[in-house]
């Protein structure tokens, strides 16, 4: 059901049957390590390239989610996935392994919530038993594609963020109970003219603020309705800007509710400049950390606003600014 300008409410009862997360060694040393299903101890993951390693993580996360649900991969009716690499190869190759009907999406780091909301929208109006959604990113493959290969040794400013090595997937169904996908707000492109790929948090913050503000307008609720409102990967710099922008619009975000997946995933002792980023950032924090907290009844209502920087290496070289987007999905126990 359409609600307001950009939001949808899923009345048909779309539930998350199972979810799983795979991360690299650096994320495994972070404060959320207990929430991840598989932690690799090497970023190569026994593969010949970082791109192949990323594909392995997405496959593992997908197969683990299917296994947890107690079904077979042949039972999957649709797989919706996205990642950061050119032509979304990680998703394409993982879909080859899973073998189900597949829709590949690109929405940069907001892909986790874009795939989830698309799946919920499709499931809402159709009799589809199982839809699997997921995203992946790899620190070394993303650095190579969007900035500089790390072995080049380029300096990074304090606003730079650390792309999360990991993959997160979840399985949606209407047939069984679980955390319920309640509503979604589809974001608009917001571009404030920032063109620095080492300052993506600031580039995406206005889009996040726009989506959060619209969500509360559309739904007719206030921020304290939720136990957690988390942006995807704004990091320290972007998250603060987002909070200030919302305050300017008259929406005060309570400190203990409003957080950011990119801030949560790494500890203070991990030198990641402004925080984590990447498709996997919001995916592993949501499907690992937040869903686990919901299962333990610590929290029951969450709103995840995954943020994406929709530029390309070419558009950046041609001096285009970074178009930001943010998609929000609410999940309730």
């Amino acid at each position: 059901m359409v609600k307001g300008k950009q939001s949808f409410i899923f009345d048909a009862g779309v539930h998350i049957l199972s979810a799983s997360t795979v991360v690299g060694p650096f994320e495994g040393k972070g404060p959320l390590s207990d929430d991840f299903d598989i932690i690799h101890d090497d970023i190569w993951m026994n593969q010949g390239s970082f791109e192949k390693a990323e594909k392995i993580m997405l496959e593992e996360a997908a197969l683990k989610t299917i296994e947890k649900a107690g079904i077979k991969k042949e039972d999957i009716n649709l797989f919706i996935s996205g990642d950061l690499l050119s032509q979304i190869i990680s998703s394409n190759f993982a879909a080859r392994t899973i073998g189900s009907p597949y829709i590949g999406i690109y929405s940069a780091c907001s892909g986790s919530m874009e795939s989830l909301l698309l799946a919920a929208l499709i499931m809402e109006g159709n009799d589809i038993p199982y839809i699997l959604t997921g995203t992946s990113s790899h620190n070394a493959s993303a650095e190579k594609q969007f900035r500089y290969p790390t072995e080049y040794g380029s300096q990074k400013p304090p606003t730079a963020q650390w792309t999360v090595t990991g993959a997160g997937t979840c399985l949606l169904t209407k047939m069984f109970q679980g955390p319920k996908v309640v509503s979604a707000t589809i974001g608009k492109i917001v571009d404030m003219g920032i063109s620095d790929p080492f300052n993506m948090g600031s580039a995406m913050a206005p889009a996040a603020a726009d989506t959060i503000y619209t969500h509360f307008q559309d739904m007719g609720i206030t921020p304290d309705y939720y136990d957690i409102i988390a942006t995807g990967d704004l990091g320290n710099v972007g998250h603060k800007i987002c909070k200030d922008l919302l305050k300017d619009k008259g929406l005060e975000m309570p400190e203990h509710i409003f957080t950011d997946c990119g801030i949560l995933i790494y500890g203070d002792n991990q030198k990641v400049q402004a925080g984590g980023s990447g498709c996997a950032c919001s995916a592993v924090v949501t499907f690992g950390h937040f869903l686990n907290r919901m299962k333990r009844n610590e929290i029951s209502k969450i709103l995840i606003v995954a943020t994406g920087a929709l530029h390309s290496p070419l558009s950046y070289q041609q001096k285009e600014s970074i178009p930001g987007i943010a998609h929000g999905v609410s999940i309730e126990m």
């Binding site: 970023i43 190569w44 970082f50 620190n139 070394a140 650095e143 500089y148 290969p149 790390t150 072995e151 080049y152 380029s154 300096q155 400013p157 090595t165 620095d196």
Partner: protein, 117 residues
């Protein structure tokens, strides 16, 4: 002893210029490097880089600006010897050791080490 101090100061100042180009003017590392090379070539062309080397030694020869100076010096030397074709043959005359060692040592390192991401 004086020479060591001046090498430190002049070499450091050239690096400070590079750092400011990256941090304040948000130039990419490639643009920063190319700009310093061109600046070195221009200073060489104005006969200002050689006195700087005389004054600061390694402080002026080690930074990348020295590469620009060497490109120009090689081209001019060959130009005097062989005429205009010398510009083409001479440009890498003095710098070939630097370029070759970058390729060879880079290749050797890639044989031994694996990027850690």
């Amino acid at each position: 002893m004086d020479k060591f101090i001046w090498a430190f100061i002049i070499g450091g100042l050239i690096c400070v210029i590079g750092q400011i180009m990256m941090d304040v003017f948000a130039l990419t590392p490639a643009h920063t490097m190319s700009t310093l090379v061109v600046a070195g070539a221009i200073l060489g062309g104005l006969s200002l880089y050689e006195p700087l080397i005389k004054f600061a030694g390694a402080g002026a020869t080690v930074p990348i600006s020295s590469f620009g100076n060497s490109l120009l010096k090689g081209a001019f030397t060959e130009l005097e010897k062989d005429g205009p074709i010398g510009i083409l043959t001479g440009i890498f005359e003095l710098t070939s050791s630097g370029i070759s060692s970058a390729i060879i040592f880079g290749f050797m390192a890639s044989l031994i080490f694996k990027p850690k991401g």
